[in-house]
Amino acid sequence: MNNSRNSTDNKKEFWKSLEDYNSDPEIQKLKQNEFLEGVTDDFDSSKLSGISRRKFLALLSASAAVTATACTDYRDKGEIVPYNKRPEEILPGIPNFYASTCSGCENNCGILVKTREGRPIKIDGNPDHPINKGKICAKGQASILNLYDPERLTDPTINKSKVDWKKVDDEIISALNIARNNSKEIAIVTETITSPTYLKLLNDFSAKYQGTKIYPIELINDANRRNAWFDFYGTYEYPSVKWDEANIILALDSDFLGSEGNHIEAVEKFTRKREPLNKIDFNRLYAAEGRMSSTGMMADYRLRISPDEQYEFVMALINELVRKGSAISIDSAVQSKIQKYSFSKFEKSAGKDKLNNLVNDFNSNRGKAIVYAGETLSKDVHIAVNLLNEIIGGTLLYDYSRAFKNLAKHSSKEEIEQLIDSINKGNAGVVIHCGVNPVYQLADDFGYASALKKVSTVISLTESENETSAFSHYTLPINNQLESWGDFSSRTGIYSLQQPVISPLFNTRQKEAILLTWINGSSSSYKEDIYHNYLMENFNTEVYAKKNPFTDARTFWLSALHDGVVTFDENVPTSSKMNQSSLLNTKENQKGGYVLHLTNNCFVGDGKFANNGWLQEIPHPVTKIVWDNYAAISPSASKKLNAENNDLVEVSANGHKLTLPVLVQPGMSDTTINIELGYGRTVCGEVGRNVGFNSIKLMSKNFDSSPFIYSNATITKIGGTHKLASTQEHHSLDETFVKDFHRKRNIIREGTVEGYKKNPHFLHKEKEEIFSITREHKYDGAKWAMAIDLNKCTSCGVCVASCNVENNVPVVGKEQVLRGREMQWIRVDRYYSGTPDEPIVSNQPMLCQHCDNAPCENVCPVNATNHSPDGLNQMAYNRCVGTRYCSNNCPYKVRRFNFFNFRDEFADSYYENDLTALVNNPEVTVRSRGVMEKCTFCVQRIMDARSNAIRDGRELKGSDVVTACQQACPSNAIVFGDANDSESEVSKLREHDLAYHVLEELNVKPNVTYLAKLRNTHSEEIA
């Protein structure tokens, strides 16, 4: 074996975590042990069940005897119950797909819902949708579980006792009438309005009940961006960005690739400029941020700028670039304002070379460069960025044809204060909450919860109990999005339809139908199709009339439902006139001490998805922590504080305090404390209750310039720890026989664009001679293989979510993850290189590599895992006796063992109920205790494609099979297909210059090929 290339071409040393970097003795100890401490503990059989073995056997024999005598026919195989009248479109065993729209957030992605025998089992993106193009986020993927959430509300309640809808409707209608007649305010607090018909309905409601005011609120919103756009351009509708045309991108504390805005759309467009297959035409990403975000991990250059310094940074950048020439003329007042700012302040923290590169790149790429500020940054930063984009020609990359529409503005701080004021004065008669949770989401100092107690009628329309419904007199259960009708138009020219794919599972109604009943003024006016008809009517006037197609209205409606989306020409907002003087009123952020930065979590969102176990258990893209949030601080801040991971600290800002554990995050700015929102729900289902810490408690209505950024924050160690569960170090490999395993062994291999252009074969300098000790197996037909392009992977976790749903992967809970027993079949490994202050991050999706010479197969004593003739490493669950030898022998550590029957183990069999069982994919076995499992390359999809090919009498092609992770990957980084078909994309990628296998020298011949990441820096060496 020739090992020479290891020492020559990869100078980079990778470290998985700070403990690893500092060679913490505990990590060394961990590495000595194959499995995590405690992984095999807890097998006291008396603990598992209250019944002793003797008693169990006695019961067994007794029940067997009873069964034997009671059985009339022991050969009975049960019944097959066919449909009485089979719906024409349903054939048992064949899935149906329905186009709909996700209402999980204001992006309203088009979705395609897979149903089997009328039961939704998977949600994927709608490929015909022009924005999200067949992809959705992890929340969307996992949201199928919300439909089958055992803690969904089933019946309307008045003061927590179940009643029927008629009583509720009658009482509320009379309360509404009384409020109207006494000219009291009726407040409707609702989520962001992106549905034109819902907006019309709310207007109808206001017309019927005078005194109604609408308050759209959203915890994480784009209000700063919108308001800045209004100040600068005079419109609230701002354009989307043509990321696929940008050469230079500067992201200012913006996680546009991970959790902000429509990141699914952004990732797809961004990675089109990260395509190593043909001509290398990469974009260059600069990220100036105080925290470490997914975007920061992808960046070619990271500049450590804390969020309170962003305004000065932008102004300094404007100053530098204006000196080099500007596409527009700058007002003299503005000119004198910007001249005060210079880069000198940032040279130390961000690095002089990086700043020079940044300025030069912007200068030489005018019209092809863009600056993008994060949604948490203040309006002032956004105004400055708007000017900056005018100067460098970033405006050419604005896409006004797909602008973000503004159907109804979010309520400002002042408007919410007015509402609370009017409640406190006794002027509010009825408060209606439509799918929102303001008691949780509004900062405590608004005093919303205490104000609610003064309202005689508080109504919550919600899917499950939340903090607000706890304060409500009426709690009305609403339909899940898969049971609802709806329309959405969040972007110009796009009208997206939502249709129910299953009739309501419980005694629920959709929120629009409930409001319509109240508008009609009588409980008997409710019909199941009340909103359906209302929607169709509005569709006819709004869309059909505008579009004026050749078909009749009914046909057009049906075809629109079939496609899920209608595109049409809409007046696009133009923003030619800019108001430069708006910049004159902008100011710097307050500074001093630590700056607290509250950010969005890409899995639980604003807390709405807290009760979804799948989402809680997907490792965080950066920190790999599950089931928790934490205060992330920089390594040097941690030294200063003498606080390490898991140590409890008290963070205080603006007089608000919160105690939570610390996580030391490499690459953060030394003054930034980053905490994610959406955790610490107190009134919630069992899964999400008291998971993490409610960082909204740190928010204040008296914020400086942004509700998400608080300067002068303090952080003090208070003693005690809270153990954070991370999937990070669980897979440490034994180092006694190979020291520095992942550093030497080229698990991650990278290069630079410059280096690659000079020498495309830099990865494979010498042909290696590896001989095999086993005979080669001939693969005559198809041979399944996967290629993953590391240039495109953003570590978003959507593949994990999709795999979980497709393959019935159970939720194991935090305690089990702490023991290293997580069950996900695909994970995204994250490696750091460089220094703790300036780390370079590499991500790598890791799944079963389906090795030709699979080491797991040789050691299975019962031949439960073996190889198929089409190259799959197959796993027969029924044969497995659970020795775990295979996992022991797997160099990639991708095998998962069922230490429990996780369906009855997780939180007292939370997910073992008739309802949640419906989420399972009927084509995949539900594994039970004592069985090893792992990625199957979605063998059920391969078999399905094969059966279709046989039916159609054609050869099976590799492109017929799309794995769940591949289908879900927003950046199309995953390619799957037939390696024996030389025309297939996967075999081309296998032959690519950048292709490598992880642990190639083991000669296990993995069938997952990775494409080495190229960094688009100015040098030929990786920094």
């Binding site: 049960g78 019944e79 119950v81 066919p82 009485n84 048992p92 065993g93 078999m943 059966s947 039916r951």
Partner: protein, 189 residues
């Protein structure tokens, strides 16, 4: 020589016991075989439907009722509306048809007794077999002659593999037939 107790045990008691155990085992094995593999299982159905009449005498194609068989895993048991395609007119006076109509009109599904079953963890696919030209009768027997359907062949893994390994012997009517897959994930996933 005096016979000891031990002699009695060794020479008579022990062989006798062993013989009885062995005989019981062999007898039970052979007698219960059809019970164990399900051969001959012919439960009473909620409606006395005759395959002999429909598929045999009237020669209605299997797929007229079992619509899924060429399309996917399940052959599908016909829904009542398929029966009613004919029986809304045909033989409306017969008691069994009256019961069928009753089920249909009340919207109740007919609880047919299941005869053929492979375990849940085996994902048997009807369409790949039928689309390769394998006759239904090769597994289900000559249903056309059955007044009451019963199981005629084993539905065990061994039975599957026997045919997969030697399709020429088991399916002589097929001119071209490949060896069936024997790998685990062909059936288990």
């Amino acid at each position: 020589m005096k016979k000891t107790v031990l002699d009695h045990v060794l020479k008579i008691r022990l062989p006798l016991t062993l013989f009885v155990i062995a005989a019981t085992y062999v007898l039970t094995y052979y007698i219960s075989r059809p019970e164990r593999d399900g051969i001959g299982y012919a439960p009473e159905q909620p409606i006395k439907f005759s395959h002999k009449l429909h598929a045999g005498t009237m020669a209605i194609d299997c797929q007229y009722c079992h619509v899924g068989v060429t399309k996917n895993r399940f052959a599908t048991i016909p829904s009542a509306n398929i029966c009613m395609n004919c029986h809304s007119v045909a033989r409306k006076d017969k008691p069994e048809i009256i019961r069928l109509t009753q089920y249909y009109e009340e919207g109740k599904p007919i609880p047919w007794k299941r005869i053929h079953k492979v375990p849940d963890y085996a994902y048997f696919n009807h369409s790949v077999h039928v689309n390769k030209g394998i006759d239904c009768a090769s597994c289900h027997g000559d249903v056309k002659q059955m007044e009451v359907v019963n199981q005629v062949r084993q539905f065990t893994m061994k039975a599957c593999l026997d045919c997969h390994r030697a399709p020429h012997e088991n399916l002589p009517y097929l001119k071209q037939v490949n060896i069936g897959p024997e790998n685990c994930s062909a059936c288990h996933r």
